[in-house]
Symmetry: C2
Subunit: 693 residues, 2 copies
Amino acid sequence: MLDKLFNPRSVAVIGASQKALSIGNVITKNLLKYSYKGPIYPVNPKADEVCGLKCYPTVAAIPGDIDLAHISIPAKFTPDAIDECGKKGVQFVIINSAGFKEIGEAGLAIENETVKRARQYGMRIFGPNCQGIINTDPALRAYCDFTFTYPEEGHVSIVAQSGGVGALYMQAIHDLGVGMRFYASNGNACDISIPEILRYYGSDEKTRVIILYAEGFADPGDFMDAAREVAEKKPILGMRAGRTAAGANAAASHTGGLAGVGLSTELIFKKTGILAFRDVEEMCQAAMAFAAQPVPKGNRVGLITDTGGPAVIATDELCDAGLDIPPLSEKGTAVLKEKLFPEASVRNPVDVLATAAAPHYRAALDVLMDEPGIDSIYINFVTPPFVDTESVAKEMATVSKKRCKPIVCNYMTDKPQWTATTAHLTEGGIPCYDYPEMAAKSLAALTRYHTLRSRPKTPVTIFSDVDRAQAAGIIQETRKAGRTLLAAEEVYALLGSYGIPTASCRIARNVDEAEAEAERIGFPVVIKADAANLIHKTDAGGVALNLNDVAAVRNAVAAMTKRIDAPDLKFLVQQYLPGGMEIIIGAKEERGLGYILMAGIGGVLVELLKDVAFELTPVTASEAEAMLRSLKTYPILTGYRGRKGVDQAQLITIIQRISQLVTDLPVIREMDLNPIITFEDRVVAVDARIIIS
Amino acid sequence: MLDKLFNPRSVAVIGASQKALSIGNVITKNLLKYSYKGPIYPVNPKADEVCGLKCYPTVAAIPGDIDLAHISIPAKFTPDAIDECGKKGVQFVIINSAGFKEIGEAGLAIENETVKRARQYGMRIFGPNCQGIINTDPALRAYCDFTFTYPEEGHVSIVAQSGGVGALYMQAIHDLGVGMRFYASNGNACDISIPEILRYYGSDEKTRVIILYAEGFADPGDFMDAAREVAEKKPILGMRAGRTAAGANAAASHTGGLAGVGLSTELIFKKTGILAFRDVEEMCQAAMAFAAQPVPKGNRVGLITDTGGPAVIATDELCDAGLDIPPLSEKGTAVLKEKLFPEASVRNPVDVLATAAAPHYRAALDVLMDEPGIDSIYINFVTPPFVDTESVAKEMATVSKKRCKPIVCNYMTDKPQWTATTAHLTEGGIPCYDYPEMAAKSLAALTRYHTLRSRPKTPVTIFSDVDRAQAAGIIQETRKAGRTLLAAEEVYALLGSYGIPTASCRIARNVDEAEAEAERIGFPVVIKADAANLIHKTDAGGVALNLNDVAAVRNAVAAMTKRIDAPDLKFLVQQYLPGGMEIIIGAKEERGLGYILMAGIGGVLVELLKDVAFELTPVTASEAEAMLRSLKTYPILTGYRGRKGVDQAQLITIIQRISQLVTDLPVIREMDLNPIITFEDRVVAVDARIIIS
């Protein structure tokens, strides 16, 4: 669909100008400078010539067909320019001009009018308020953009709504000596969207890795579909901005409050299989490895080093990233002992010593390539002036080109002097890093991608034993009563209709009823106050635990009656369950995305430590399990220091049932079960809250 | 003392060779290539000429005086070469050769002999198994090293025992376009030490910032004295390696198990005022800022940006680093509204827009420089091809040169094209970064240094109410009895003699005594088993809490008697203190460093989350307070969500008293109070363990 956008056979520049510091001039110059292979048609009624090219007074006056037209005239003239282009049969326009939606109501009106007119001609719009696209294909070299980086041909494709970040990525990739395939930054994105561009990159054979910047999504569902589809085919490296409150604010003001700023972007990435990064440099350096090396089959790294200190630094970084540096096999060790210097270290890291020559490196590389217990190779290569480093690099290149296991290299040299050595490494496709940490992080990214790709993908479980009609009926009643907070008995009934286990619970309207219910349930019991407007029971003094006899029950009810001023005050009487671990599971609506589900360990300490996991609905069994496993306090669930573990299978089921519940009943705004008391063989929600819209 | 080492008026190279790939050849070539201003004397009996220089058969044959001699002949010939140098009156030798301590016993013997001979002549040794030193002073240009980076003159001085890491730092600084002052990498460090080099850098006027790499310390006390002294004068940026278990192993094998690998390096840095880094690139990039910009007076950042996305990324990174991005004053905002484009954002971040010209930037810079609520300035500067970026850079340089508040710049450009703009920024001393994160991290480092420098420095409190003699007597008795684990009554008596509050506690030898003591103390009580070899009471079933009556006491004692097979089994009877927060405070001997003190919140959850703080003895009141404040769970100590806080002053005192206790009685190997039960007005250790050597 976007083929002519990325492969235009001819380009017009409406608003081309002779003024050096104007966008129309820069775009024309860029097309020329990058040696665009098709005809370029500057359009400007006031000029005969722009940048040495014949200039046309109108689009209509252009002799040939036009696949793509830039529009860089003031916003208010844009709708008419669209008409001109439409009549000429232009298929794509890139509107570089600003002054549209981003400036407010007046701009939005022009933007809407522009889209409306383009639709009449079946013409597609890229932008407005955007940079444009670049295609590095030597047969085309389309630089339809006003940026200033002139990339080499390669396999990395970039897509970013924010032009500032897109250009930053392109420059970074270029400075790393890595080639680019496509570039696209679509600004206001009034028509052609990021998902469309992603799909186009996904189907492009020359694109090996995609870099994406996201501040938010106009249509999160569409984005997720596209990302999921493309991530199956090739790695997408993504960065989310706005992870801090201030950053999210900045992003929201920048994007006009799109869905998916902050936490949910991270969840979208995780769910669709996008490899998430927090740092521009780290992502671009990882892209270098993805563009050249295979993906490892596991997390076990073999290190080769010719210097001690940087190996320590690399070891720290690799371990921090969760990679393993296992000992080598006896067989491998024996070969190394035979072939390396006697003072060399034949453990992992293998220290070949600073004086090592090509045969030493080759021996170490071959051993690591052959080791069944090693998945990837990290090399520290300082270029000692007393070593023939060229021949060393040649051996590395030879081994790399077999593409058996990924290699990354922390290449410690002065590049202007070591050009021949560098050339061998480049030719061998070995990603060379200036710092041990960056080489380690990039190898970790390759490994993380392996893990992401091989994670279990279970289908969403649909529980057929739920009573959706009953649950819908309960909510219906709450709405009818004009409430948004469900009453306790409604909550328990609703959870019951979705098979979520709750502690047996009775409602008492007064102290006598409370006493009777307590005796029926059996001591010890818990008494909780309940009223339509009572959201935070504990803070209001509305919870009394571990009541051992009738007197305690009566005292508790009396105290609550005094403390809480609510005409509809009732009392929940529940069995008291001491000694269990407290778990919290909740769900919160997220615009355009369904719900964010949350699970964590409860209690005051953990609340402070924010040890919770999140996932977007619908949540599968394996996702629910991964949520629990990702908790820092997970060992407590499995049993820790003499304590028994808890029934995880039940928790996993509850997470899935809540996922189904909120998906079935999207009128729910948020809900939580807090706490769920968990034991080795039993899991019971003892308190819950549901708010509807 | 090291003046002639770093400023040699003449250099001899013993082992200079014509063989291209030899160290002696490389050193001679480096001296020439770097245009060393003094005479160079190659020494080699088998050559007449090396690198075009006259070669001498012996040191004695050299006509002039020699300040510094390189030795790059095999280790076994080194002692004789030392004699030769001594007789000639050489003051410093750099031994580049390997084959000394690092290869084992035989090498160590040669190293010791080498040191012994050098001492006879009052000659100092740098190395062996080392690179050497570099002095970039244009009047000298001493490149006494076999590395390959030829740095420009500047203000960053580097010291690293590991040559691999030192060279990495030097290359990084050079690649950043930052000048260097001194370089030193002293390998085995048999004589001239890192502390000596640090002191020399400290007294050097041209050194503005010091970069240090530490894997461990031969004499930690000496290092700490030197670091403390120098850090008072100028920033020392330090990196510790071996923070992971595998990394620490690698470092230990590399350094031969020096003290201070791992945790304690971090504590040494903190205590002496070294700014700690975890990442080579981050540290070198920060050094660029330290070399050129003043230190901010607080953590409030004003941002100027000409592009939206990168400002979001910068905001995230700055906030993550604990910096604040406050709103601007009304006055400042009004000025910005008047002077910037109408569409510009006049909040903080100030978005001047991509089309902003020099006057816009100048207005924004002036406003931020004048704002009393802003301490430092972060700039995102992308170079749009339609803007006169040179004049923008000129304004930035003008403002920077006033050195009022630090400025860092994320400079997003293609440097080969924007040379003139780049030159203005460089000339203005503005540190330019390729990535928003790195610019933000460097500004955060400047700010972190401000915080470090301005932290309260209280003297060590000496508690005069302690009874050291009594405590020493108790330990004496334990040793006499041939035990290393103190018995319960000894522990409580010892803590008592240092004024550390413990729960009242009685010893019972049998069930009847236990009953009697429990009645004397009053119910509820705790019973704990005690025996010489019983270290982990809880695991052995030797702790019974909350015993409410005589029957419970008798049952508990009976059960323990059954479970624990120890002829000297006794029972501790203590008051039971429910409801308090559990705190743990401990101390552990650290070779050459005194003790590492530890404080944290107790209980199974927090143990899992490892929320503890560490500090080296002696611990001051402000350090003890900082330990508590650094806990993630600190809000619990101050009172959180309706819970009362605890008596922090008492905890701070206990930390200091334990610091004094272990300092006074260094025979203690480790001890801990676990738990200390804390209340709002009361703090009591209810269990403790002391092990002596």
